[in-house]
Each structure stands twice: as C-alpha cells, then as structure tokens.
Subunit: 172 residues, 2 copies
Amino acid sequence: MTKRSADPANGSAPAARQVPMRDFSRSLPMSLLRAREAVMRQFRPSLREHGLTEQQWRILRALAAIEAAEVTELARTAFLLGPSLSRILRDLEARNLIERRTAKADQRRSMVSISKEGVKLMASVAPTSEAIYAEITRRFGARKLAELQEMLGELEQSLAGLGSADETIAEG
Amino acid sequence: MTKRSADPANGSAPAARQVPMRDFSRSLPMSLLRAREAVMRQFRPSLREHGLTEQQWRILRALAAIEAAEVTELARTAFLLGPSLSRILRDLEARNLIERRTAKADQRRSMVSISKEGVKLMASVAPTSEAIYAEITRRFGARKLAELQEMLGELEQSLAGLGSADETIAEG
DNA sequence: GGGAGATGCTTAACATGTTAAGTGAATGCG
DNA sequence: CGCATTCACTTAACATGTTAAGCATCTCCC
C-alpha cells in the first residue's frame, strides 16, 4: 500500500554538496515533463478502459471537430509526426473508427474522417474526460489555469524560429 | 534542402467553423506538450551530435550530481520508468559511460555511477547545453521563466494524490 | 528456519517518438 | 513530351513509454 507516485521534492536533500550545475530536476524540460505527466496520469485510466491511447484520442477529437482532413493537416492538428499518424490511422481504420478515401483531384492525398462508430465511442468517453478536466480546473484554479496556458503559448512563441536556421527570411 | 520542421502554427486556419467542444488544441495537455516540444527541439540536435538521446542525457546529468545511486532512486530522479531505465542503463554500460556494481548488503540492489568517460562526454556537451538554456531564458525572460516553473510545480502539487485511489489515508 | 509475501530489477509485448529512406503521384522546365 | 524535382504519404529501424510478468533476493512471522 505504499504510495508509488514520483514525488522527488522531499526535503531530505543530502546536505549542501556544492551544486555542479543548475539542479537538474528544476530544469524547464523536466518541469514541463512532470507537469504534463501529472495531468495525463488523470486521463489515461479512463481512456484505457475504452481501449484508446492518448494519441488515438487526440486524433478522434481532432477529426470530430473538422469532419474530414488530409493526413498532413491532421498531423499538424493532433501534433503527431507523420510516421506515428500513419501507423495509428492504419489501426483506427482496422477498428472501423475512421474512414479514408483518396482525393480525386490529387491521388497522393487521402481524406480522413471519423466513422459513426468513432462518434459513438467518443460520446462514451467524453463525459468522463470532461469531468476530469473540470476537476483539474477546480483544483488548480480556473484563473491560474488560463494564466499558465497563456505563458505556455508565449514560451512557444519565444522559441518559434529558433533551431532550424533556415527560416530567417520573411520576418517583416 | 526543404525545411522539414513541424511548424504547426501557420495562420491558414480554414474559416470559423462552429467549435464543437473546447478547442482541443487549447487543452492543457496539448499546451504542455507543445511547449515542451518547442523547448526540446532546441536541445536535441546538440545532443544528437554527441550520440546522446534526451533520456540518456538526463541519466548522465543525474548521475554526475549524485555520484552513485540505486536504480530505483535514479528512475525517480531522472523521471523514467523502470523498464526504460533498465534498457538505457544496459546500453550506457555497454558504451562504458556508466558503471554498476551490486550492493553487498542487498544483492537485489545495484549501484550505478558515472564513469570517467561519462564525465568527459558530459563536459563536452554541457557548454552547448548551457548556452541553449541561456538563450531560451533570454528570449522568454528570466522572471517569466521562474513564474512558469512555479506554476508548473503548483499544478503538480494540485494533482498529487489524484487518480491512484489508494492514498486516501494519512492526509491529516 | 521455512514458506508466504514484499522488494528491486529485468524481460516481454505492444504503442509511440524520431529520423531516414522508399514509393507513387504531381509539377516545373527544358 | 521527357525527366528531374517536389510532394504526400508510408515503411523501416531504432529508442523510449507503458503495462504486465518474470526472477532473484530479502523480510516477516509463525
């Protein structure tokens, strides 16, 4: 019955060993990783009960909102890389949760849409999902949640156009 | 020579279709995911040049700071699951970047430590890594960065002890 | 002191992340 | 028209995330 949650922030640090570099557990990537994990830990069990992974759920949600989309557009929306999406779509199609047909104008493109079964599955998951989201909002505070999302967006903006070295054009 | 980076934030959204549920791209998990990806995108190329993945780098950093640690302790510090860590340690050991020896008192435990080679590798990566971190801090703002980390920590705290259903005891 | 259960770690199995290469279709340009 | 290039997507290969088993070892309690 011991609790299994991570909890790396107990006060039992072993004396003041001269810190070699910025305490690595307080780095930005780690903070983001832990925060996201804390959030996703809430959702995963429910999704799992319905036989969905987090990414599959993302795809269904995205599709439910836009009716039909090309694969590339869907990748951008669901924030998945092409190869991952390709595999997941293959599986979702095998489970009849989505449908796809190649575009007439351009044989390379394929249009993906959610199926009736997919909609039904979504309907069965959404209530729990929304309840969890509501509970998170209640615990953390709606105001603070909005602030956090605002800052996350700004962080993204700050880093946009860094690290590619070929988008130094057309910045106005 | 075409740019291959994801870049999901171009302004070509297809008109204002009536939003069915909270715009899924603005959900908390997505915000966290995108923010983290934006950050990690900066570090990955440098790590890759040195033949390290993000997780391997996390482990080396953690080890460099604490001399030696048991596997479980290391998993907690580097925020990795046991199986992942087990695999990575096997590889790092094969590359002579870490060393391990079983504890005398308890044959189950094994103590892991960074090797001389590991230290050397870290020394060759750290400068670039620090420079990138500094640039991120400069772009986003040191004050805001601290605020963000504070909020992320609070979010973690808010959700601690939710979703396990067996830690409802000893809450005081 | 011996066996049931807990513990520390590893292996297995499946799904995704990440990068590179492959494939078929569309385009541009001579 | 022909052909190199680009484009949309898929496959491949390797590394990690996630959950469940497996395997020693250790602990506790009788």
